[in-house]
């Protein structure tokens, strides 16, 4: 495991996209649905998934989108990124969503639909 940004444990099914996510523009803040057609996960929900994506982009207010998702019980269980950005890191910190940054090799090895367990205390991801 490369780097822990927000501590925690989670297990669930991976939803993976290779597109960076603009949380304010692309994610419905109540339901977690992806509403931007440009995404390969268009019309899928990030609710209760292990969301695997390169990094966040765009508006700084995306952090509130992450907090709103958590308040509506529509947040991902955990987030795994290739690169940490301040919007996702701070949104996860406030919403208590475990967040880790992994190497490019680890990122590539995680497949959409995988069931994984994350435990930041033991610094492990189990496939």
């Amino acid at each position: 495991m490369s780097k822990i940004i927000v501590q925690g444990e989670a297990q669930g099914t991976v939803l993976k996209t290779t597109s960076p996510i603009n949380f304010l523009g692309a994610v419905d803040k109540k339901t977690g649905m992806i509403r931007d057609k440009k995404y390969d996960i268009f019309e899928k929900s990030i609710k209760n998934t292990i969301l695997v994506f390169p990094h966040g982009i765009g508006s700084s207010v995306g952090a509130y989108t992450i907090y709103s998702l958590k308040s509506h019980q529509s947040a991902p269980l955990a987030m795994i990124c290739q690169k940490a950005d301040l919007t996702v890191a701070s949104g996860c910190a406030l919403a208590n969503i475990p967040m880790i940054v992994v190497s490019n090799e680890e990122f590539d090895s995680i497949q959409d639909g995988n069931h994984i367990i994350i435990d930041t205390k033991s610094e492990k991801i189990f496939n």
Binding site: I4, I5, L24, H55, V61, S71, K83, L86, S90, L94
Partner: protein, 387 residues
């Protein structure tokens, strides 16, 4: 990240819940940006003000936080969703929105924030001396501060800037250092670019660049185009700084921005042949842009609704200099404290498509408001939409 004993105590909750939350955010963002410590900052510019963007959970969070959180440094805020002076002209704004928006505004004021409601703090205040460390959340403002304002900031998030405002500190990340190297050069291949082209250049640079980019092949344009560049760049990526360069550094990666790259972005964001109304201002217009607009109108009138967004401070200056007379005579509606992005003033029941010269505005009109967009530079808007 190394914390002082005082910072550790705050992180452990010894100075209350508010500071604990603030330090938890600063530590996560510090880890995310490989910062080794926290440093003092002089000014925080906060985002997360429009009820349409932060929703009920954001409104509740700020209401709770403002019970005891107080800002420690100068703090300014982004636009709201509406201009309270003009609500009556927009009959579809519901009471719930007005109530929640007022609550958000009150929470920020209670925390000691200056109620600027502007995404262009650099147009309102004299900037502090060069190399001053600040924390700007609004993406176009952070990019402007780093690239044109001589200041230093991370591309802060709404929460990291809020945590900075409350603690007076921010992670000492690469963007705050003097010796950062810029690994990529975007080569501008388009001749005589207008502000729409600069917005698309920014959108492209944000997509391909990482933290910072050089731009070659073009010199620093006028303020309208500079702001369009900052707005476009902030929308599409993580890039937080650019600099115009005359000669290209051998070691940096080169990426061309030509007709093909531009057309691709234009096709992504331009989805309508014409708009039902016009919006100018994302980022909000500054005094120079208002003055330009009044001169360009030169006796002609808008043939459809045209909303012109600027900060209240700029509107007051423009009024005292009489720039607003010509714009209002032409039928332009000057609105403050809000902007194109996610404003409920634009309603999908009444509007199918919007004409604008803003790439940032286009992205959020299309993806968040849910309307189509007709993109044109200001000169073409005046030519096509006024008589």
């Amino acid at each position: 990240m190394e914390l002082t004993s005082e910072e550790k105590a705050a992180l452990n909750g010894e100075h209350g819940d508010t500071l604990q939350t603030a330090y938890r955010i600063l530590v996560a963002t510090g880890e995310a940006t490989n910062a080794e410590k926290l440093i003092p900052i002089k000014w925080a510019h906060l985002s997360g003000v429009n009820y349409n963007t932060i929703g009920d959970s954001g409104e509740e969070f700020l209401r709770e936080l403002s019970k005891d959180a107080r800002v420690k440094v100068k703090a300014t805020v982004n636009p709201m969703g509406i201009d309270f002076d003009h609500i009556s002209e927009f009959n579809h704004i519901d009471d719930e929105f007005i109530k929640k928006q007022a609550s958000i505004s009150d929470s920020y004021i209670r925390m000691g924030v200056e109620p600027t409601f502007s995404c262009t703090p650099y147009d309102i205040f004299d900037l502090p001396e060069k190399n001053t460390q600040v924390s700007f959340a609004e993406s176009n403002a952070a990019i402007f501060a780093n690239s044109l304002g001589g200041l230093k900031t991370n591309k802060e998030s709404a929460f990291s800037a809020l945590a900075s405002a409350i603690t007076g500190k921010s992670p000492y990340s690469d963007l705050r250092k003097d010796d950062m190297t810029i690994p990529m050069t975007i080569r501008m291949k388009m001749d005589n670019p207008n502000e729409l082209d600069f917005g698309m250049l920014g959108f492209f640079a944000g997509k391909v660049g990482d933290t910072s980019v050089n731009i070659s092949g073009v010199s620093q344009p006028n303020r309208r185009s500079c702001k369009a560049l900052c707005g476009g760049m902030g929308t599409s990526g993580t890039c937080a700084k650019f600099q115009f360069v005359d000669s290209e550094d051998e070691k940096s990666e080169k990426v061309d921005f030509g007709k093909e790259e531009m057309n691709e972005i234009y096709d992504e964001l331009n989805t309508a042949e014409k708009g039902d109304l016009i919006t100018l201002g994302s980022p909000q217009l500054g005094l120079e842009e208002i003055s330009d607009l009044s001169k360009m109108l030169n006796g002609k009138s808008f043939q459809k609704r045209c909303m012109i967004f600027c900060s209240r401070a700029v509107q007051e200056q423009a009024r005292s200099l009489d720039y607003t007379n010509e714009i209002e005579r032409a039928g332009g509606e000057i609105l403050s404290d809000c902007c194109t992005c996610l404003t409920p003033l634009i309603d999908t029941d009444e509007t199918d498509a919007v004409t604008t010269n803003s790439i940032k505005g286009a992205y959020y009109l299309k993806n968040s408001t849910g309307v189509n967009v007709n993109l044109k530079p200001l000169s073409k808007i005046i030519e096509d939409e006024t008589k």
